[in-house]
């Protein structure tokens, strides 16, 4: 599956903020890490703010803070702020809508949709932060191994 850019940006921004709950990050800081325009990111942060997941802190050293519940907010919650993940189904008015073949295809597409929603709806921000930490550790180990091979 492929996420829309706004959903992708929202997820990485929330992960970035949830990983540093004690400090505020500006859109410029997040934008420079992920190579995206602050303009686009600001729109995403606005939506996240309206959903109560982040809040902006004004003044010197200001920026955004994560203020949601990391153990209860799932990837699906965030994605659905930006795009609809409803039943995919066949396009209305498509060829052979009333045929047995279309009905059979609909069953398969529904199975895929159910699986996608179950996965995204079961992974919380806290779980994702754990996966990020594990990924950092594994990448660090791989880099060290590569460096040893190179210099050893």
């Amino acid at each position: 599956m492929k996420l829309q850019i706004a959903s992708h940006l929202a997820i990485v921004s929330v992960l970035e903020l949830a990983a540093h709950p004690d400090r505020q990050l500006t859109v410029a800081e997040i934008g420079s890490k992920y190579g995206v325009s602050t303009h686009h990111l600001a729109k995403v942060m606005h939506v996240l703010g309206r959903a109560g997941l982040v809040r902006s802190v004004r003044g010197a050293g200001g920026g955004y803070q994560f203020c949601g519940n990391a153990r209860r907010t799932t990837l699906l919650d965030i994605i659905e702020l930006f795009e609809a993940l409803g039943p995919r189904g066949l396009d209305a008015g498509g060829p052979g809508q009333d045929t047995a073949e279309a009905a059979a295809l609909e069953i398969v597409l529904r199975e895929i949709d159910d699986s996608v929603r179950a996965t995204l709806g079961s992974i919380t921000i806290a779980t994702m932060c754990g996966l990020v930490e594990r990924s950092v550790t594994e990448r660090g180990r791989a880099h060290r191994t590569a460096a040893i091979r190179l210099h050893g």
Binding site: P21, G52, F66, C67, G68, A118
Partner: protein
């Protein structure tokens, strides 16, 4: 997944911003943390196991739990594991249980530890009982030489799904298939 245009209206509010520090906002409400102990189940625990399961699932099945206890006892650890958690106070209140077993070569799978059942008293959740039970059974599986732990959760059963995901469990390489025989 079908790509759809971005929505710009009627965004649901997920969580209320809190005045507390963001670090605190990400944690569940603080509760006093009573100590608890884990130990292998005894026959006398089966009544409490069945009662907790009935409370959680609303499906009484005492014969099933007794049969499972007898089977696990016959198989013996580390192959069959049945642990319970009780409060470490004088009352030793029953808090939860976990049942698992090491199975080999079913469905072509190399030996792995299966978690069949895990339940925690609804009044004692968010205290780490479930995590402790899962870590304990994982330790038993590890000691027995298996490096993989599996379980099965209904897609729409949100609480256990979040729990096992939070414990680092991911979708495995097998897909459960079924067919209506009616």
């Amino acid at each position: 997944m079908k790509r759809t245009p971005s929505r710009t209206k009627k965004r649901p509010r997920l969580a209320r911003p809190r005045a507390a520090s963001p670090a605190g906002a990400t944690r569940p409400a603080a509760k006093s943390k009573p100590a608890f102990v884990l130990r292998p189940a005894q026959r006398g625990d089966v009544v409490a196991v069945a009662a907790l399961d009935e409370r959680v699932t609303a499906l009484p099945k005492p014969a099933h739990w007794l049969e499972l206890y007898e089977r696990q006892k016959k198989v013996g650890q580390p192959a069959g594991i049945f642990l319970v958690a009780t409060a470490s106070d004088a009352a030793s209140r029953f808090l939860g249980f976990i049942v698992g077993e090491i199975r080999a070569w079913e469905f072509g799978s190399a030996p792995c530890g299966w978690v069949y059942a895990l339940s925690v008293d609804p009044d004692s959740r968010l205290l780490g009982v479930g995590e402790a039970l899962l870590e304990s059974i994982a330790g038993e599986f590890r000691k027995a030489g298996v490096s993989k732990m599996r379980t099965m959760v209904a897609r729409d059963n949100r609480l256990p799904m979040l729990f096992f995901r939070g414990a680092g469990m991911m979708a495995g390489p097998y897909v459960q298939l079924e067919k209506d025989l009616g």
